[in-house]
C-alpha cells in the first residue's frame, strides 16, 4: 500500500515536472528572461515595393529609415533592427509577408507599403495581431481615416491633407471653372475628391466643368489634353502620381497646354518630377509639396540633407523624409516609453512631437496621422534650372483634416 502510494506520488511528481517544463518552454518563446529585455532591440519588419515602377519610393524611404536608425544608435539611443520584404506592389503579397514577419521573424513593428491597398491590408492584419504598423508609403486617407485604429500610424501626408492643401492654394486664385482629371485608381480619386470637397467649401462659386480619368501607366496624354483644352476650363486640376506624373508633365509641355490653361498637380515642382524632365518641364504649373531638399531653408533641413548625402550620395526626396520620420518617431517613442513593450510604445507615440527637417512634427493622438507643414508654389526656371518658385508654407493646422470628421467616418 505504502509502495503503491509512493509510485503514485512519483508519477504525480514526474507529471508536474513535465508540466512545468512545458510551461517554461512555451513561456520562453513569448517573453525572454528579464535580464535580456534591456538589451533586446526592437525589430521592424518592412514590407515595400522594391521592384517595378514604384521601387524608387521604397528605396528612398528605406534609406531615410536606415539613417534615423543609425543616428539613434550613434547617440546611444534605442537599438532598432529591421528586415525587408518585397511585396511587388501586390496587396495580397503585403499581407502574406506581414504574417511571415510576425510569425517567423517575430518582428515587433511592421512598416512600409507604397501601395495604398497594401497599407490597408497590412493595417487590418496589424489590428488583428496587435502588432503596430507604421505607414510611410501608402497615401490613402482611409489608412488613418475611416479604417484607422490603435495599431496603425502614418508618417506621411495623406490624400486628405494633399487635397486640403491644394484647395487652400486654389482658393487664393480667381479660377472659377474647374476641370478635374487624374489616374483612375485610389490615389487619383482620393486627391481629387478631397480637393474638390474642400474647394467648394472655401470658395462656394467654383463650378465643375467635367472630369477625365486615365488608366495607371498611360503613356500618351495628348488625346486627354486635347480634349480638355477644347472645353476651355479656367484651371485643370490633376491627381496623378509616379511615372504618370512625369509623362503627364511632359505632355503638358509638348502640347503647350500650360500656355493656355493653368494646371495644378501635387508634386509638380518636386525634383522627382522635374529631374527626369530636363529642359522639357512646363513652366507655370501650380502645385503643392510636402518636402524639398532646399525648402524649408533651415539649419535642421540642411543637416538632414548633408547627413543623407554623406550616407547615400544623393539628395533626399520626400519619401526619404517619411521613412526618416518613421524611424525617428519609433526611436523617440521607445525612449519615452522606457520599454520595448509594444503597447507602451504605442502609448508613447500617441501625440508625440519630434524635431524633423521640416520643423516640429506631431503624430496626432486621435488618428495617429503625422502633421507637418506643406509648401505651395509654381514651376519656374530660376537661373537656368527648373524648380519650385514663389514658395509659401501652409501650416499643418491649416491642412489637417478635422478630428471630428475622422471620428465621424470611423464610427460609420
Amino acid at each position: 500500500m505504502v509502495r503503491m502510494v509512493g509510485k503514485k506520488k512519483s508519477l504525480i511528481r514526474l507529471g508536474s515536472i513535465l508540466l512545468i517544463t512545458a510551461l517554461m518552454a512555451s513561456g520562453c518563446g513569448s517573453s525572454p528572461s528579464p535580464t535580456k529585455t534591456e538589451e533586446k532591440p526592437v525589430k521592424v519588419g518592412i514590407i515595400d515595393t522594391y521592384t517595378g515602377g514604384a521601387a524608387v519610393y521604397a528605396s528612398d524611404s528605406l534609406d531615410g529609415f536606415k539613417l534615423a536608425v543609425k543616428e539613434s544608435a550613434d547617440k546611444g539611443g534605442p537599438k532598432i533592427e529591421f528586415v525587408t520584404r518585397d511585396d511587388e506592389f501586390k496587396p495580397d503579397k503585403s499581407t502574406s509577408w506581414a504574417k511571415e514577419l510576425v510569425m517567423r521573424e517575430q518582428v515587433d513593428f511592421l512598416a512600409g507599403t507604397t501601395n495604398s491597398a497594401g497599407s490597408l491590408a497590412v493595417s487590418q492584419y496589424a489590428k488583428e495581431s496587435k502588432v503596430p504598423f507604421i505607414v510611410w508609403g501608402g497615401m490613402s486617407d482611409k489608412i488613418t481615416g475611416e479604417a484607422g485604429h490603435r495599431y496603425v500610424f502614418s508618417t506621411l501626408p495623406n490624400t486628405a491633407i494633399i487635397g486640403k492643401a491644394g484647395a487652400s492654394q486654389l482658393s487664393k486664385t480667381s479660377y472659377q471653372k474647374v476641370w478635374l482629371a487624374g489616374s483612375d485608381y485610389e490615389y487619383g480619386h482620393s486627391v481629387i475628391n478631397n480637393l474638390w470637397s474642400n474647394l467648394t467649401t472655401l470658395k462656394p462659386g467654383v463650378e465643375k466643368m467635367g472630369e477625365t480619368w486615365w488608366r495607371v501607366g498611360e503613356t500618351d496624354f495628348t488625346p486627354y489634353i486635347n480634349a480638355i483644352r477644347s472645353a476651355k476650363p479656367d484651371v485643370l486640376v490633376v491627381g496623378t502620381g509616379g511615372a504618370d506624373m512625369v509623362a503627364f508633365m511632359k505632355a503638358v509641355k509638348a502640347t503647350g497646354l500650360n500656355q493656355e490653361i493653368p494646371v495644378w498637380a501635387h508634386t509638380s515642382y518636386d525634383p522627382a518630377t522635374l529631374r527626369p524632365l530636363g529642359d522639357q518641364a512646363p513652366e507655370g504649373v501650380l502645385g503643392t509639396n510636402p518636402y524639398l531638399f532646399n525648402y524649408p531653408d533651415t539649419a535642421e533641413n540642411k543637416a538632414f540633407v548633408d547627413a543623407f548625402k554623406k550616407e547615400y550620395n544623393r539628395e533626399p526626396a520626400a519619401f526619404a523624409l517619411y521613412g526618416y520620420m518613421g524611424g525617428k518617431f519609433l526611436g523617440e517613442a521607445i525612449k519615452k516609453a522606457g520599454s520595448t513593450d509594444k503597447e507602451k510604445i504605442i502609448d508613447a507615440m500617441e501625440g508625440l512631437t519630434i524635431d524633423t527637417p521640416v520643423g516640429k512634427a506631431t503624430l496626432r493622438k486621435e488618428d495617429h496621422q503625422v502633421a507637418i507643414p506643406m509648401s505651395y508654389g509654381v514651376v519656374a526656371k530660376v537661373n537656368g534650372i527648373f524648380t519650385g518658385n514663389d514658395l509659401h508654407t501652409l501650416n499643418s493646422e491649416e491642412i489637417m483634416p478635422s478630428i471630428d470628421a475622422i471620428l465621424k467616418a470611423r464610427s460609420k
Binding site: 500618351d220 486627354y224 486635347n226 480634349a227 509638348a254 522627382a272
Partner: protein
Amino acid sequence: MDFATLASQFFIGLSRGMIFFIVSAGLTLIFGVLRITNFAHGALYMIGAFIAYSVSTLFGQGPYGFWLALLVAPLVVMFVSLVIERGLLRFIYNRDHLIQMLLTYSLVLIAGDLVKIIWGTEYKSMDIPNVLRGSFNLWGASLPWYNAFLLIVGPVVALGLWLFLSKTHLGKICRATATDREMVDVLGINSTRVFATVFALGGWLAGLGGALIAPTTTISMGMDASIIIYAFLIVVIGGLGNIWGALISSIIMGVGEAFGILFIPGVAIIIPYIIAGVLLILRPSGLLKSAW
C-alpha cells in the same frame, strides 16, 4: 464640339494607333509564324525604350541622339530577340502552349529585374529632338509635331512590312508558314531560318515602338505591362497572325480611344475593352482571316 477639335483628336488618335500597330505587328507576326504567345513582347518594347534613352543620353540629349537612338535601339532589341530565340525558344516549339507561355512569361520577369539592375529605379526621360518639338496649327486646333512624325513613321513601317512579306522570298515563306505550316514543312523548307528571322523582326518592331514612344513619356519599369494588354487586344481583334488585321484594329483602337476620351472622359479607362468586346461580338474570329 467644333470641327477643329474633332479633326485634331482624330489625328492624335491615329498617331496613337501607329505606335499600337508597330508593336502589335511584331507580336502578330510571331503569333502567325512561330505559333508562340510571346508575353515578353512588351518587355522587348520596354528594353527598346531604355536603350533609346541610353543612346540619346550618351550624346548629351543632343540633336543626333534621338535619330541614332531610333536606329540603334531596335537593332539591339533585334539582337536580344535573336539570342532568346536561338537560346531558348527553339527548344519548345513542339511543346504545349502552356510551357511556351511559362517561358515567355519568365522572360518578362527576368527583363524587369535586368532593367532594374542596369538602369536603376529612377524615372528616365529623353528629349524630343528640336525639329519635332512644339505644335502646329491644324484648322484652329493644335497638333504636336511629334504626333505628325508618328503619322509618317507608321505607314512607312507598314509599307516596309508589305514589301518584305510580298516581294521577298523569305517573306513569302513567312506568309506561307502562317497560312499552312504543315504544307511548308512537307515542301522541305528549312523552317529554322524562317523562325529566327521572324522572331528577330518581331523584336525589331517592339524595339522600334519603344524607341518611338520614349521621347513622349516616362521611361520606367512597368511600361511593358501597359503596352502588352493593348497589343494582345489588337492582335485578337485583328485576327491572330494577320498583320493587316493588326493595322486596321490598331487604327480603330487609337482613334476610338481618342474619341472616347473626348466624349466620355470619365470612363476613358474602359474604352479599349468596349471596342474589343463589340468587335469580337460582331466578328468572333477577328476582323481579318486568322492564321490559327
